[in-house]
Amino acid sequence: MIINSRFFNRSELIGFVALAALLFVILPLSLDVFRLNLVAKYLTYAFVGIGLVLCWGYGGILSLGQGVFFGLGGYCMAMFLKLEASSVENTKIQSTPGIPDFMDWNQITSLPLFWQPFHSLTLTILAIILVPGLFALIIGTAMFKRRVGGTYFAIITQAVAAILTILIVGQQGYTGGINGMTDLRTLKGWDIRPDHAKVMLYFFEVFLLFGCILLAQFIRLTKLGRILVAMREQEDRVRFSGYSVANFKIFAFCMAAIFAAIGGAMFALNVGFMSPSFVGIVPSIEMVIYTAVGGRMSIFGAVWGSLLVNVAKTGLSESFPQLWLFGLGGLFIAVVLAFPNGLSGIWADYVQPRIDRLLTWRKPKPAKAWTDGSVADGAPAE
């Protein structure tokens, strides 16, 4: 099925190695644990970004509700951690010991049925994948089978994000309300709060992230990825060729949802809480921005975008809280107007050719290097 004979072409390989070196070696060695934990938080958005590259960049489906899936994954994880943190010994001062503290505050006396599966870690991990996946399947089937797409789809996903946020905030007794689920302590008895645990979690997350990158790259290179691109460019032609456009869209949307959910689960683990402020419309659109800045066509770009925008956000809002929104808004407009392919587009257009020229200049036979290099590698990095 794989059309390209090599998994990565040369420039992608360089990108992969550079990212791996940065995340596995440079950042852990150079940052203290607090900053490393911040990077872990930023990288949770990279999961969402990779999903958006598949679904938006390749499939052309702009979802403004990725926060929903991020939140579902995060809440599944947080529910497990919360249940473990509210064991009978830990909560004996409550009127009903053994249930999460916010339930006790809201006069709920027994654990609701939908919380029961989250006693088990296996079921929780399954839920992190399946709940958002199924939810995306339902939305996707309902929308794409009826050929709803483009702007309509974007607005409806936004409405779904609004609904879920209002529901979480409103049902305080079952979800923790606006404060979310706080005070998460242990994972199977292993304390997630001390420094060494944070470092372990960081590495675990980076491993998962690279797993997702490889999976996304694999999808991109198979025939499926080609069909996604074809669909974005000429949907009708793909349909007339006998492919079921709706099914491919549903698949891309579900993959994006699952990636986002993994990111959400890692968020709950790394940051130690989950709240509706990461579910609603505003965070969902911000996640799209990270991807747009990094480059909607580039898997690595999504990771870089999530990292850089968040670093800028933290830096600016620490020192100039007034300026942050101006900066973010301006960045948005600039990226859309001037650089639709984001940072990776700038890289491919301006930096990559210079590097190539430098490399060919060093080689003794320029003509041969030309055929070895860019042409044999197929299309330049997108």
Binding site: T151, F332, V336
Partner: protein, 308 residues
């Protein structure tokens, strides 16, 4: 749920909640009219629409403060001047935005969404820097205060009646502009076939700019009306933007009647439900119903039959 109330009480509840719903309906219609013109006619998703509305609200607030200071004698009538100023301010900003931003993005409708979202962030922060983060409320003139007693159990606030009359007048004016005036005909021609409209001598770029300006100007008037019933803060606009988009999509974009019908049904459902359950659940149920219906009928309530 109905057990504790007598028939007469229930009647009054429905009337009063229905009236509260009508005020919500007015805000929805005013916001959705501008959006229906911009989204329905031009296909541009303007996420900054709420901020254009808030601009109108701030202009109204400034006008009312100015009248209080310098022309207290004319204060009862400040609202009419404020409305005109709000229309001009929002419309002018809208035309500027169209010239600087939107016209480069007509071929990429999804990107207008992102760019205008960036614009809305900038505008919000501008309001926060200029007017402060606290919400401001205008002082209503004497004749708008109080409420009108209709029967023993039913009373309706006067400012609500005023806002509703305003809504009706603006809607009629917009309908006239879009369907009867020469300019409205040009707008519809450009929507249906841009190239042909250009070929018969319509300046399509100019039509685009004025259409966008008109939509934003109506949002400004909506903001002006909004000050009658609520206070204004830098992020008030964002609260309404998704609802308003749903109103437009639910009604079937490009259909004025559809927009009004959907604003009516959504606001009435929500305000009636609000009486019997918590506000958040009422909102969730309403939105769920809209999304559910849109999944069954993606083209909205009143869709124009066009050949694609």
């Amino acid at each position: 749920m109905f057990g504790d109330y007598s028939i007469g009480d229930l009647g009054s509840i429905f009337v009063m909640q229905g009236f509260a719903g009508l005020i919500l309906f007015s805000v929805y219609v005013l916001m959705a009219l501008g959006l229906a013109i911009i989204f329905g006619q031009m296909g541009v998703i303007n996420m900054a629409h709420g901020e254009f509305m808030i601009l109108g609200a701030y202009v109204t607030w400034l006008t009312s403060s100015a009248f209080q200071h310098y022309l207290p004698a004319l204060f009862p009538g400040y609202f009419f001047l404020a409305m005109v100023l709000a229309f001009i301010a929002s419309g002018a900003l809208g035309m500027l935005v169209e010239w600087g931003l939107i016209r480069h993005l007509y071929k990429r409708p999804l990107d207008t969404l992102l760019a205008t979202w960036g614009l809305s962030l900038i505008l919000q922060q501008t309001y926060r820097s200029v007017f402060g983060a606290r919400e401001v409320g205008v002082e209503l003139p004497q004749w708008m205060l109080g409420s009108k007693q209709i029967t023993d159990t039913i009373e309706v606030p006067i400012n609500g009646i005023f806002v509703m009359c305003l809504t009706v007048m603006i809607t009629v004016a917009v309908a006239w502009i879009m369907y009867k005036s020469r300019w409205g005909r040009q707008v519809r021609a450009v929507v249906q076939n841009r190239i042909m409209a250009g070929a018969v001598g319509i300046n399509t770029e100019k039509v685009d700019r004025y259409t966008f300006g008109l939509g934003c100007g109506i949002a400004g008037v909506a903001g002006s009306a909004f000050t009658m019933i609520g206070s204004t803060g830098p992020t008030s606009g964002q609260l309404y933007i998704v609802d308003t988009f749903l109103v437009v999509v639910f009604g079937g974009a490009a259909s004025l009647i559809g927009t009004i019908a959907s604003a009516f049904s959504i606001s009435q459902t929500q305000s009636t439900l609000e009486f019997f359950m918590s506000g958040s659940m009422a909102k969730v149920l309403t939105l769920l119903a809209i999304v559910g219906i849109l999944m069954l009928r993606p083209q909205g309530l009143f869709a124009l039959k066009v050949r694609k």
